[in-house]
């Protein structure tokens, strides 16, 4: 924008002054945006109502059998949490360590290259991850543990770890890089090793940003559907023993992806699925809001 441009504006502004249509347009758009989220949440809420009334006695059990009218959602909720824990316990340490390595890079060009490579990894569609899971990872896992099928909770956790890794890594690298570089230099001037300054000053200062990155990654892990659905084995039972990652399982999302299209609209079955989706949305929205609140107050100045 230049003064010349501003001059033309002032001249034309004197000539004609149209009614503020843009204000109405902006207002309608913002209203529409707000309406969408209300519409989505209200729809889910209304449709999951019947499940609470008609299936309430079986809802919190571990048995799922629509033919008998038994709709226990515990296996799916447990499966979601289990897969998420596996994915997070792999992705968090690797992602954090790699983020520290990137933030230590002195060469700006190399750093930018690494960041763009991460964006490529984050851009691969989840269905392609699913295909890789089906074609490679599940077969490797089956071979490694001598199983008949590699479509198990562990495989889903592994795929999910790779899927959330770039998001978490990239966001936590941003958090680490936003800590003033002067700290690193001042630490070095005192004869400290990079590791000592990182651990004592930089990681604590970046901690809010890193935790918020972890929460966002967690939200992604919970909501991821296609890749998990293809490799988890779709077994509506709790694993035996409970914490056996080599058992097939089911997550909320894989259940929804597999069954919502096949269940009749308006049936109890459908309603229970919508209820699970509502639980999922509540969790992911809460995680995102929490992630935003962590960063705001404690952010490094």
């Amino acid at each position: 924008m230049t003064t010349a441009a501003l001059n033309t504006i002032s001249q034309s502004a004197l000539k004609n002054r149209p009614r503020d249509g843009i204000r109405t347009f902006a207002r309608v758009s913002a209203f529409g945006t707000s309406a969408i989220i209300i519409l989505i949440l209200a729809t889910l809420f209304l449709q999951s109502g019947p499940a609470i009334f008609t299936a309430s006695d079986s809802l919190f059990t571990a048995r799922w059998n629509p033919a008998e009218g038994v709709y226990g959602i515990v296996p799916m909720v447990f499966g979601s949490l289990f897969v998420m824990v596996i994915a997070m316990s792999l992705a968090l340490p690797i992602g954090l360590l790699a983020a520290m390595a990137i933030s230590q890079m002195r060469h700006q060009g190399l750093r930018r290259l690494t960041k763009s490579a991460l964006e490529i990894l984050a851009g691969i569609p989840s269905i392609v991850y699913g295909l890789i899971g089906v074609a490679y990872v599940s077969i490797w896992v089956a071979g490694a543990f001598d199983l008949q099928s590699g479509r198990i909770i562990l495989t889903a956790g592994l795929i999910l770890a790779v899927m959330i890794l770039p998001t978490f890594l990239s966001l936590s690298e941003d958090a680490i890089s936003s800590v003033p570089r002067a700290y690193q230099e001042n630490g070095a001037a005192l004869g400290l090793y990079p590791y000592e300054t990182q651990r004592a000053i930089i990681l604590p200062a970046a901690a809010p940003g890193i935790s918020s990155a972890a929460l966002l990654a967690l939200g992604r892990a919970l909501g991821e559907t296609m890749a998990v659905m293809l490799v988890i084995g779709s077994l509506d039972r709790l694993p035996r023993p409970l914490f056996n990652p080599l058992s097939s399982g089911q997550t909320i999302t894989s259940k929804l992806g597999r069954e919502i299209g096949e269940s009749a609209f308006g049936s109890t079955h459908f309603s229970v699925l919508v209820l699970m989706s509502l639980i999922l949305v509540t969790l992911t929205i809460a995680l995102t809001i929490a992630a935003r609140h962590i960063v705001k107050p404690g952010s490094p100045s």
Binding site: A182, Y183, A189, L190, G191
Partner: protein
């Protein structure tokens, strides 16, 4: 391109200092990417006393200072060539672990940068990983804060956050932090440039108090300050040494015309 003449800054009547220089540069150059910031300088900086590096902006003063403890290596584009001895050992090969060098050669930057910790933790920050009894730590904190002329102001709130201090106090805390490592050389990069005049005076006084025990090399833009506190002066312009010598020589009629012009008009046409 003309080469700067070899200039000895040690006057002959200063025999004990001449015995062994703290820093000795021969044909030393520093680069940033393709640009030559310091070109082929030769210089001895004596032990003890305050040596001020003066010269116009962009003369290469800070670059020179930052290569002396190899903190310039934090920038991938910075590099040096030529011979440099620091405390009798080669700058590159004599210190395979760069942290050894930086423990002997402390540094305080232009902008105060205290760590977001308590005042006493800041003083002890460089001693991380060393096990010492609490009483000894307290002693170090007190000694260094006193040496940095900060003790009287903060002695009753040592566990307060260092960020609660004024900028001038923060800069003195940075000096105290560097002193805790008992360095033999202290590099100061315009330590008074970003703080108020009263604090700046306090820092000048403490630099003069410290100078009998250690080698202090200070970059400054301030001619009056140089006159007040320096023992030796190096006048740099455009990456070369114009003149170097004892303060009394530099601030006398014996100095070069160029130097005198800079000292009076703060202007240099090199």
């Amino acid at each position: 391109m003309s080469h700067a003449p070899h200039l000895k800054i040690i006057s002959d009547n200063d025999a004990p200092l001449a015995a062994m220089p703290a820093i000795s540069l021969k044909g030393f150059s520093a680069y940033y990417g393709e640009n030559c910031i310091i070109s082929d300088i030769t210089l001895d900086i004596p032990r003890r006393g305050v040596t001020c590096l003066i010269g116009p902006s962009g003369a290469g003063k800070s670059t020179l200072l930052r290569s002396l403890n190899r903190i310039n290596e934090h920038n991938a584009q910075a590099s040096v060539s030529g011979k440099a001895d620091v405390l009798g050992r080669d700058l590159a090969s004599g210190y395979p672990d760069v942290t050894d060098l930086r423990r002997k050669v402390g540094m305080v930057f232009q902008t105060p940068c205290v760590f977001p910790r308590s005042i006493s933790e800041n003083v002890l920050f460089g001693l991380r990983g060393q096990k010492r009894p609490k009483s000894e730590k307290r002693e170090i904190v007190e000694r260094c804060l006193k040496a940095a002329a900060l003790w009287d102001e903060v002695s009753r709130r040592l566990s307060d956050s260092a960020l609660s201090l004024s900028l001038g106090q923060q800069q003195r805390l940075c000096i105290a932090r560097a002193l805790a490592m008992s360095p033999e050389i202290l590099l100061l990069d315009e330590p008074t440039a970003s703080i108020d005049p009263v604090s700046a005076r306090a820092i000048e006084n403490l630099v003069m108090d410290l100078s009998p025990q250690m080698t202090i090399i200070m970059v400054t833009h301030n001619i009056a300050q140089t006159k007040r506190i320096s023992d030796h002066v190096v006048f740099l312009c455009d990456g070369k040494i114009v003149e170097a010598g004892a303060k009394t020589d530099i601030f006398s009629r014996r100095s070069l015309d160029k130097t005198r012009t800079y000292l009076t008009e703060e202007f240099c046409d090199c």
